[in-house]
């Protein structure tokens, strides 16, 4: 698959295939959780999912494309530099979420908060679909299809807002515990809150590139902000790939 980086329609198809794979794996995860609670299996599936997103949606391999030859004023050189910086930011942010996961396992061990598993599956699906559209938006922009880009971005935005509404608007209200009840409830609100905060930042980011994109600021060759927003959005998705099993699937209900 990785041989066809340049052909736009192949790229769109690739995004779709990955999306289906991710959906399937999520379903598998859910089934594992219901049937046998195998921690190792769940972490393996989550790692595979994260790997797929990192490689096919976030194009982590592009970090290797260091074009030493280019002049320091060329666009390619600048994009490579920006990309490196942005990924370092993501690395840094990843430590925050790793810390939250550590906190969760330290305080809750192999129990999990009392949550509605179906709702969890729904919001996870919403975020996953948004990732698919985000990937589409980027591919379309890189193929010069500004209209398609705008449409896909709008769908992503709507789904992203839907996700936050699902977590904050529904899940938080329905949870049978309040923030101050126990360490477990604290962890739940902290993890989902911190993640939702990142989704909201992503929504703002998307809003900006949508507006600028429609104004024609970007072109197929010159669209680093679109790539950055994409990478960011998918990163937030990767975080959820780990948070979802950690909050909804692993362990027995406390």
């Amino acid at each position: 698959m990785s041989g066809n980086h340049n052909n736009p329609s192949d790229q769109l198809n690739q995004g779709l295939v990955i999306f289906i794979l991710l959906g399937f794996l999520t379903f598998v995860e859910y089934m594992i959780a219901i049937w046998n609670q195998n921690l190792l299996l769940l972490s393996v599936v989550a790692t595979i999912k994260a790997g797929l997103v990192l490689y096919y949606y976030m194009h982590i391999y592009k970090l290797g494309n260091i074009d030493e030859g280019g002049s320091h004023h060329s666009l390619a050189w600048k994009t490579t530099t920006n990309r490196l910086g942005f990924w370092l930011f993501i690395l840094s942010d990843a430590f925050l979420f790793a810390g939250l996961l550590t906190t969760r396992f330290n305080l809750l061990g192999l129990t999990r908060p009392h949550l509605d598993q179906q709702l969890g599956l729904i919001v996870t699906a919403v975020l996953l679909i948004s990732s698919f559209f985000m990937n589409r938006a980027e591919t379309q922009m890189k193929a010069g299809d500004t209209k398609g880009f705008a449409l896909s971005t709008i769908i992503t935005l709507v789904l992203g807002i839907g996700f936050v509404a699902g977590v904050v608007g529904v899940e938080w209200q329905e949870a049978p515990f309040g923030v101050a009840d126990s360490a477990a409830s604290g962890v739940f609100f902290m993890m989902t809150g911190m993640h939702a905060f990142h989704v909201l930042t992503g929504v703002i980011f998307l809003g900006i590139i949508l507006r600028n994109g429609m104004k024609g600021v970007y072109s197929a060759e010159n669209c680093w902000p679109v790539e950055a927003a994409t990478v960011y959005w998918h990163f937030v998705d990767v975080v959820w790939i780990f948070f979802y099993p950690a909050l909804y699937l692993i362990g027995i209900m406390a």
């Binding site: 923030v179 101050a180 360490a183 507006r211």
Partner: protein, 681 residues
């Protein structure tokens, strides 16, 4: 045109005026809030600090007018009030008490929101966000940025890494003096048993803030040295992301203000480590401390990110990894730590903050929380960060030794790799701060091993330094930078060698939380940071200003500071071993520590005096006429091959690396060449 002299006296006048107005304002507000006038309000620290804030505002206003820093400060004050009022309004709408007189007006949530909005307002006011707003609106921004003429450029947003480096460095010196001043005050209290001048609460607040202000001063200081030097050393025009660079610097200012504001808002009594559950119960100042450090953390993270990209992408042609000046290695290793580990202290502090604000019981054992978890998160950052403090300092030592020994750096690759080694092993040792904390007992032995392991790469550095000096041709006159380098080596050696007794668990059970530890870390931090920092200042001052600091005063500084410092820390270790606990305002007279503490206090004041000598030296030199524009140290490093002060865009012609950086004593060898010049010849 007015001369700067005239402006200066106006600034001083406004400074004093600001202090008076602020003090009166503070008393007025308290009278209004309490409904009665009470003479004791004049003694209240909050009013005095309000005065200091207005005084600084007045001072800078007198100096530069409503511009840059002044604008930022005004916006920060307004932002804080707006944030506080916003929360009050929300609380009012929710039917809750909107204000809390016991907490200086706003509720705790109001103060925290105010702090964050204030910090952002500062950035907007100072102009650090302008280009990003433009970018968001899809407007064009320009890479080339013209700084205003004269000293005013240091008070506003500049994208030039040299200006930013100097801004950082001056801020760091200022914080060093503030933190040192706190130490001087509480050392006075410690000079004999009994409580004489401070209350317990005040002692604890000053001691805790001393620790954290010093640490922030170090973080800002290394950022200063790194920012100023690295682009020059690798032959670049600037950092990879100049705008982000300016942002990283300017966000440190509101962070420092928040940190210091905790003194006015009730203080706190936890030490710099802020362990819960004590920090959950501490006064409002605790929250300001947490928010301040969280904001300062972003300065570290973004600065580190910028540096790594700069080193990876901006090196001059031919500068392979092992041909970089050694300081660049140190800066990179440091940045790897800052980039990643900082998030953990941010998270740890946020968790406590949320427990304070919303009652989320992360550290409340009765509700399933775990106080020890905080310590793990905290030390996961705060141990590696001690290597952030020293790696650049050790880099400066490695950079300067060959110049003054006139001999190549011995074992360049080993020194470079040892920096990385220290940084990486440093990630695996955090629990050595927790040997007696009640964490899982079986963790103690593995953490003892990993901790001891750090001695190996550190040892490599020491041995290589000695080998560099061995059979060198050390310059006849030991210039001030070299003195500080040598002092740094000795002091850091003492600090380092007192590490293993802390690392072996059973001896640490005696040592932990005593003045032995206090002695250990003052030695490591002074030897690993303060001494090399001063060495760097003396060494590169001519590069930045074209003038060389006075040698006589420099030597006075050194010879005043070093012996006093030995007395201070060696006595600390002695009383610590004999039973002196940390973080106590008063000690048992039965221990008969009084004379030792008195000697420590006197040494502390001598150290302060030496710092004043240094400041005086700077003022005298800047005003003086003597110029030093050439390669006064006879260094091979690229920045010395162009005249001082450094031109705005560093190197007019691109340079190319053609040899090894430290080939002293090799006839006809060259480290770099300027590309176009060669063609002309």
């Amino acid at each position: 045109m007015k001369s700067p002299e005239v402006k200066f006296s106006k600034a001083i006048a406004l400074f004093l005026g600001g202090q008076v107005v602020g003090l009166l304002l503070g008393v007025l507000i308290q009278t209004a809030l309490a409904g009665v006038y009470n003479g004791a309000y004049f003694k209240d620290i909050a009013s005095w600090l309000l005065g200091v804030l207005l005084a600084l505002l007045g001072f800078f206003y007198g100096l530069i007018g409503y511009y840059g820093l002044v604008k930022g400060l005004v916006w920060q004050v307004l932002g804080t009030i707006a944030g506080g009022l916003l929360v009050s309004a929300i609380r009012f709408l929710m039917g809750l008490e909107p204000f809390d007189l016991a907490k200086f007006g706003f509720t705790e949530g109001g103060w925290v929101a105010g702090a964050l909005i204030g910090a952002i307002a500062f950035l907007a006011g100072v102009g650090a966000l302008t280009d990003w707003f433009k970018w968001a609106k899809g407007e064009k921004t320009f890479d080339h940025h013209q700084d205003p003429e004269g000293f005013i450029k240091y008070f506003g947003v500049s994208l030039d890494h040299k200006v930013i480096g100097i801004q950082y460095t001056v801020t760091s010196l200022f914080l060093l003096m503030v933190g040192g001043l706190f130490a001087l005050i509480f050392r006075l209290e410690l000079s004999q048993t009994g409580l004489e001048i401070l209350s317990l609460q005040m002692y604890n607040s000053l001691m805790s803030l001393h620790g954290m202000v010093m640490i922030v001063s170090i973080l800002v200081g290394i950022a200063g040295v790194i920012n100023y030097l690295v682009p020059m050393l690798i032959g670049a025009q600037d950092m990879a992301f100049p705008r982000l660079n300016a942002f990283s610097f300017w966000i440190a200012i509101p962070a420092a203000i928040l940190l210091l504001s905790s003194l006015a808002l009730g203080g706190f009594d936890t030490g710099w480590t802020g362990y819960p559950p004590l920090s959950v119960r501490a006064p409002l100042g605790m929250s300001m401390f947490f928010v301040g450090i969280w904001v300062a953390g972003w300065s570290s993270i973004l600065g580190a990110l910028n540096l790594i990209v700069t080193v990876l992408r901006m090196r001059a042609e031919g500068m392979t990894a092992f041909r970089m000046p050694i300081f660049v290695w140190a800066a990179t290793a440091t940045s790897i730590i800052s980039l990643t580990a900082t998030q953990m202290i941010g998270l740890a502090f946020q968790l406590v903050l949320f427990q304070r604000l919303l009652g989320m019981p992360f550290f409340d054992a009765a509700k399933g929380g775990n106080p020890v978890l905080f310590q793990h998160l905290f030390w996961f950052y705060s141990h590696p960060v001690v290597y952030v403090f020293i790696l650049p300092g050790l880099g400066v030592i490695s950079e300067l030794l060959p110049v003054f020994a006139r001999k190549p750096l011995f074992g360049y690759k080993w020194i470079a790799m040892s920096s990385l080694g220290i940084a990486l092993v440093g990630f695996l040792v955090w629990a050595h701060h927790m040997f007696s904390s009640g964490m899982n007992e079986y963790l103690r032995v593995p953490f003892m091993y990993s901790t001891l392991l750090v001695a190996v790469p550190t040892g490599v550095k020491f041995f290589s330094w000695v080998a560099t000096l061995w059979q060198g041709r050390i310059t006849r006159e030991l210039a001030t930078p070299m003195l500080f380098v040598l002092g740094g080596i000795v002091v850091f050696l003492l600090g380092g060698l007192t590490g293993p007794p802390n690392a072996t668990v059973s001896t640490d059970l005696h040592l932990t939380d005593t003045y032995f530890i206090v002695g250990h870390f003052h030695d490591t931090m002074f030897g690993g940071y303060i001494f090399p920092f001063f060495a760097a200042l003396y060494y590169w001052f001519p590069k930045a200003t074209g003038k060389r600091l006075n040698e006589k005063l420099g030597k006075l500084h050194f010879w005043l500071m070093t012996p006093s410092f030995f007395v201070l820390t060696l006595f600390m270790m002695r009383v610590g071993l004999l039973g002196m606990r940390r973080r106590i305002a008063d000690y048992d007279p039965a221990l008969s520590f009084d004379p030792w503490h008195l000697a420590m206090t006197i040494s502390a004041y001598l150290i302060a005096l030496s710092v004043l000598v240094f400041i005086w030296n700077i003022i005298k030199t800047v005003k003086g006429e003597q110029n030093a524009t050439g390669n006064i140290w006879k260094s091979r490093s690229p920045e010395w091959l162009v005249p001082s002060p450094m031109p705005p865009h560093n190197y007019d012609q691109p340079l190319k690396v053609v040899g090894e950086p430290y080939d002293y004593g090799l006839e006809g060898s060259k480290y770099i060449e300027f590309v176009n010049k060669e063609e002309h010849e």
